[in-house]
């Protein structure tokens, strides 16, 4: 049987190469269909990976705890309005929950920042040194502040890329210079490496970090010492995230002495939740593009079926001769199926090549990231094989059911 299939394949290739133009035009539908699938999936995957990279830039194993809202006389404040979380929550959390590798805290306010004759309205964040580790910030120059700066409420600041660009001239070194936040002088000790946009589209680099103690005592003027805008925690591994979230909720409810019927006075978020929304969007897009590609493959398949029906008619006499010398139905069936599959597989392979080139070209021209995965290529190949099998079946069956006498007499 392998010899039979091999020789039938050779016959199919020979028959098809006799009518190169016809075979080429027949394949075109499959070529375009598969090419479109490969190109579209590559662009989709690239976009997905970009979103994932954004999520990762904020830390995939990061948990954010926000204070709940306040209710004053039935008027509910916005999220984070209440002052239900404080520094000791973060410190205790780290001691009690072993899954948490690190905890940190921050409080932010938008303030005017001045350097000489330049000024900028930026997000000023009072943070614990651990916050920098959790959010994985690195530096283009200078370095972080340390616990001693926090203890001493030192007036030191770290500036984000956007802030640095707006407060300093190009080529001017921010580290070592003194800026003023709400008229308090701060020495810049580090410039943060850029992170780009967040998954929500905000500029993550439009920030300035100062020690938490300095912020609450010298800049923000906090009413309640130790209250924080948000708690941050990081697990060692991303798989522990869900368990850690549950443990944090349990711990904070107990610590805040909440009764069973009371709701949480805080909100827990992870970057994974945010990423999922983005992924959902790109998935919708991918499904849409794939259905367009499926239609073009369908059209390609019909093209193959059409040309095969023509071929069966043209070669009726030949089929008769083959039957007369002992070809069984399955032999004739296999011959035409293999012909159909040769068309679709060659078309599919060409489509893969064109799709890959198309994706590359898209990256070169538009700068969009594209990813060509082996799975996609294999799936496209198998799918084109299946198209050949499916659309070749009817003509092949028609051929195999011919009556040998009628086929031999066919003019």
């Amino acid at each position: 049987m392998p010899a039979f299939l091999f020789l039938t394949l050779i016959t199919a290739v020979r028959v098809l190469s006799r009518n190169r133009l016809r075979a080429g035009l027949t394949m075109l539908g499959i070529v375009i269909g598969v090419g479109a699938v490969i190109a579209m999936v590559s662009i989709g995957e690239g976009a997905k990976a970009a979103v994932q990279a954004q999520v990762a830039s904020m830390g995939t194993n990061v948990i954010i705890v926000l204070p709940g809202s306040t209710t004053v006389g039935g008027v509910r404040g916005g999220q984070g309005g209440a002052i239900t979380l404080n520094v000791s929550d973060a410190l205790e959390m780290k001691k009690r929950i072993p899954l948490l590798q690190e905890t940190g805290w921050a409080k932010r306010d938008v303030m005017q920042i001045v350097n000489g004759n330049k000024n900028w309205n930026g997000s000023v964040n009072g943070i614990s040194p651990s916050y920098l580790t959790i959010r994985d910030w690195s530096f283009t120059s200078g370095g972080p502040f340390i616990q001693a700066d926090l203890d001493a409420a030192a007036r030191v600041a770290l500036v984000g890329q956007t802030v640095a660009e707006n407060l300093f001239d190009p080529g001017e070194e921010p580290v070592g210079s003194v800026i003023r936040i709400k008229n308090v002088p701060f020495r810049v000790i580090g410039v943060l490496a850029p992170k780009g946009q967040s998954a929500q589209g905000s500029d993550q680099d439009d920030v300035i970090f100062i020690p938490f103690s300095t912020a609450e005592r010298k800049v923000f003027g906090t009413q309640f010492i130790g209250s924080v805008g948000a708690l941050f925690a990081a697990t060692d591994r991303q798989e522990d995230l869900v368990a850690a979230v549950d443990q944090i909720r349990e711990f904070l409810r107990a610590r805040h002495r909440l009764q069973v019927e009371q709701g949480d006075d805080f909100t827990i978020r992870t970057q994974v939740d945010i990423g999922k929304v983005q992924e959902g969007t790109s998935q919708t897009l991918t499904v849409m593009l794939l259905s367009i590609a499926a239609v073009s493959l369908l059209v390609g398949g019909i093209g193959i079926m059409n040309i095969l029906l023509v071929s069966v008619t043209e070669r009726t006499r030949e089929i008769g001769v083959r039957m007369a010398v002992g070809a069984k139905r399955r032999h004739i069936l296999a011959q035409f199926l293999i012909e159909a599959m040769t068309l679709s597989v060659v078309g599919g392979t060409l489509g893969i090549v064109i799709g890959v080139m198309g994706a590359r070209l898209t990256t070169v021209i538009t700068g969009w990231p594209t990813i060509i995965s082996g799975d996609t290529v294999i799936a496209a190949f198998l799918f084109s094989l299946a198209v050949g099998l499916f659309f070749g079946l009817y003509p092949a069956q028609k051929a195999s059911r011919l009556n040998p006498i009628d086929a031999l007499r066919y003019e």
Partner: protein, 246 residues
């Protein structure tokens, strides 16, 4: 090969063979209770005017078609009861066809054309090639293995067709007007080959023709008319080879 009572079984045994077609509203009785018996090793010419039923008879004898009623035994096997694939198997192993218009596969070499029955039998490629080359040599086409049908003369094409029929060492060779499209000289060559295959190798040859000088090669002449045997006469003595147990 022996039947229950110990007698040798005829190669072909037709009893009360009927074939009825429907062409629209018209019922055509192509064979009307035909009886015929052919022994191994005979050389037979079947003659008859068009519409006599001789083509239908050839199709039935060649297992390309099945009778509507009656019995056709080939080597003792009742062909009427068989399915399409079993018929294909019989055609492949026991019957060789030679057609008036050669019916070679176009744009395919002489060797590959001759290989075709072995290809469907599922023999290894090397064996196919060796046997097909030997068959071509037997019909005098050594050295033309790689020629395409269009590069061969009519007589040569028909010889390729004979090689294709021979390659399976069939017990029965059916030739339907094998010289109908050939000039006199090529006709003589083809008939000489068929004659040699019959005499030297004991292959049963059944020839359909309407040319008396072609029919003269045969040892027995059967005339068909209105779906029945009109005359059945021996024109030559029984050749000794057919009496020898093969």
């Amino acid at each position: 090969m022996d039947s229950e009572n110990g007698q040798a079984v005829s190669l072909i045994q037709c009893e009360d063979l009927w074939k009825v077609y429907r062409l629209g509203d018209v019922e055509v009785q192509a064979l009307r209770g035909l009886n015929l018996s052919i022994e191994q090793g005979e050389f037979i010419a079947i003659m008859g005017s068009s519409g006599s039923g001789k083509s239908t008879l050839m199709n039935v004898l060649g297992c390309l078609d099945q009778p509507t009623a009656g019995q056709y035994r080939l080597n003792g096997i009742d062909v009427a009861a068989l399915q399409a694939d079993a018929l294909a198997e019989i055609r492949n192993r026991q019957i060789g066809f030679v057609f008036q218009n050669f019916n070679l596969i176009p744009r395919t070499s002489a060797l590959e054309n001759a290989q075709l029955p072995l290809f469907y039998r599922g023999l290894p490629l090397r064996e196919q090639r060796v046997l097909a080359a030997a068959a071509l040599e037997r019909v005098g086409l050594k050295g033309r293995e790689q020629h395409y049908p269009t590069q061969l003369s009519g007589g040569q094409q028909q010889r390729v067709a004979i090689a294709r029929a021979l390659v399976t060492t069939p017990s029965l060779l059916l030739a339907d007007e094998p010289t109908g499209n050939l000039d006199t000289e090529s006709s003589r060559d083809i008939m000489a080959i068929l004659d040699r295959l019959n005499k030297d190798e004991g292959i049963t040859v059944i020839l359909v023709t309407h040319e008396p000088d072609i029919a003269a090669y045969a040892a027995r002449e059967i005339v068909i008319k209105d779906g029945q045997v009109l005359t059945d006469r021996r024109t030559k003595p029984i050749p000794p080879s057919s009496l020898v147990e093969r």
